[in-house]
Symmetry: C2
Subunit: 162 residues, 2 copies
DNA sequence: CGGGAATGTCTGACTAATCAGATACTCTTT
DNA sequence: AAAGAGTATCTGATTAGTCAGACATTCCCG
């Protein structure tokens, strides 16, 4: 594993690269499956669902677009367009930010709250099936904990997006 | 955790949904970081790198586009265009498939092999830093093993893409 | 306090994916 | 062997993101 790699075949068989590929593979596939399910059953994209949860956590006051961009790896331009679509669906509302007149605050509407609850029901069921079931019960706690560490380490390493 | 969820706030605080969000968050951010690094240092996208490794594993003969689409969650149309770009960069070559004249076989070129080795060097370094370092040494083996299980379970559950 | 740097959002131009339909071939069944 | 079903790839239209630049506002330092 610590050896010098000189052929493409060796590169492809590298243990570390394989393990990492597994993380991405698992995440991509799970995201795909769960995203599909939410899209079909609730009519919103997986990214919209994530934003619903972020806003739900934030509460009444709403949060600036900037903060959403930071939570999800998404440029501010991307957030603008995502929120445009969510606003068109009636899930969120934009309001002025009294503390900073450049910015705006996004908050959930009633419909957005209902959608968050509905989508979570669908989501939970599928997570149980695809994410929890394959991990042996005695590993689950550590596994979740390690994911948390990984998630934070990776977040801290990301340079600020425009 | 097993309780009925009725408000958006509760949905956002659901332990299972949070843990899953962590997996996706970690994977997205790591993919972002490592994708950036490979792109900047090697001039290819993360997806291209994955395909280089897939082809390296396959060897001389090459593999049909269909198989690539299956490995990466990507439609066949997406693979066509990805391989178009990789061909333009000189990393892969398409050849006829003697066994099935509908299909074509994709294989690495010399330049593709070199790129796979080069990119893996960059990749390994960053994986060490962002992926391995945050996981305590005594968990690593189980963690990788659990990821493997997850990855396979998720792969088997994915419906065939067009 | 005034001016330059920094920040938050939006937008036009672009990119890389999806989807669905077209085409060409293969496989199976009668 | 002919027909119909199935499969591999490619392509036009669409979509959802990126990037870079515009603009308004705020922050900070002399």
């Amino acid at each position: 594993m610590g050896e010098e790699i000189t052929t493409a075949k060796e590169a492809a068989d590298d243990g570390l690269v394989l393990a990492f590929g597994r993380l991405l593979g698992a995440a991509n596939r799970l995201e795909y499956l769960l995203g599909r399910a939410i899209e079909e059953e609730c009519g919103i994209s997986h990214l919209m669902y994530e934003v619903l949860l972020i806003l739900a956590r934030e509460g009444e006051a709403g949060m600036p677009m900037r903060a959403i961009s930071r939570e999800q790896v998404l440029t501010t331009g991307g957030v603008t367009r995502l929120i445009d679509r969510m606003e068109a669906l009636g899930l969120v509302a934009r309001g002025d930010n009294p503390d900073d007149r450049r910015g705006r605050l996004v908050r959930l509407t009633e419909a957005g709250e209902r959608k968050a609850v509905e989508a979570t029901r669908v989501h939970r069921e599928n997570i149980e099936r695809y994410f929890v079931a394959p991990i042996p019960a005695e590993h689950r706690e550590w596994f979740a904990e390690d994911l948390r560490k990984l998630s934070h380490a990776a977040r801290d390493a990301i340079p600020r997006l425009r």
